[in-house]
């Protein structure tokens, strides 16, 4: 994770276009200024960033399914559950699956596990729009390359 760049996914490890699922890994950094405030003497990964990491995993799934033609923008988070604390240095596994692709929107279910135990899950809605600026798309392509998008594609 590069928290200061809001890049919360380190690596996409599996992408199945038939099953419409994605799996990714993320390593919570050992140190970050975020942990100085959240919380002094008791550093915890903020829940909102866990939700954002699920949104990013879902977003990459949608980008893959729409063949990089559309950008998913976070629109709604439903039934978000933060089941346990996440500490600096923990390794996270994120999964996302497409629930529905509508006209101009998509809905996913996403989850996080650490050490095989559930950490968080949610249903997430995105608006899908054309990339509003070529620079934006180019920057997303750079991030895509950095996180091995995709490592293995089926479908």
């Amino acid at each position: 994770m590069r928290l200061e760049y809001f890049q919360l996914i380190d690596r996409i490890v599996a992408l199945d276009l038939d099953a419409r699922t994605l799996k990714a890994h993320a390593q919570v950094p050992q140190t970050s200024t975020i942990f100085e405030g959240h919380f002094p003497g008791h550093p915890l990964m903020p829940g909102v960033l866990l939700i954002e990491s699920m949104a990013q995993a879902s977003g990459w799934l949608i980008i893959a399914l729409t063949k990089f033609e559309r950008m998913p923008f976070l629109a709604a988070v439903r039934d978000a559950k933060l089941r346990t604390f996440v500490l600096p240095g923990q390794a996270l596994t994120l999964t996302a699956s497409l629930v529905h692709e509508g006209s101009g929107f998509a809905i996913t279910k996403a989850a996080i596990e650490a050490d095989g135990k559930p950490v968080a899950d949610s249903e997430i809605t995105f608006r899908m729009m054309a990339f509003p600026d070529p620079k934006f798309r180019a920057s997303m392509e750079q991030v895509a390359a950095a996180i091995d998008f995709p490592v293995t594609v089926r479908g």
Binding site: A75, A76, H100, G102, S103, G104, F105, I107, T125, R127
Partner: protein, 93 residues
Amino acid sequence: MSSTFDTVANIIAETCDIPRDTIKPESHAINDLGIDSLDFLDIAFAIDKAFGIKLPLEQWTQEVNDGKATTEQYFVLDNLCARIDGLVAAKGA
């Protein structure tokens, strides 16, 4: 078997917490019921699932923005239900 209108009205009532008896065939989803675009995504999701279709929201929005159609044509519930029926019929054709 419930009508298309009953199904849609029930979806709107449940999704947007609007009293069911205030939802009429002549109601405009936006102007009369106050449904915003984000809530309408939830409604579209439920309608897509209930009828096995994909409401062409992007096309409708484009047509309204281009002045080729009015919101009444798509978002007055009577008209919306007629379009749903058309999509269902086209799917079965």
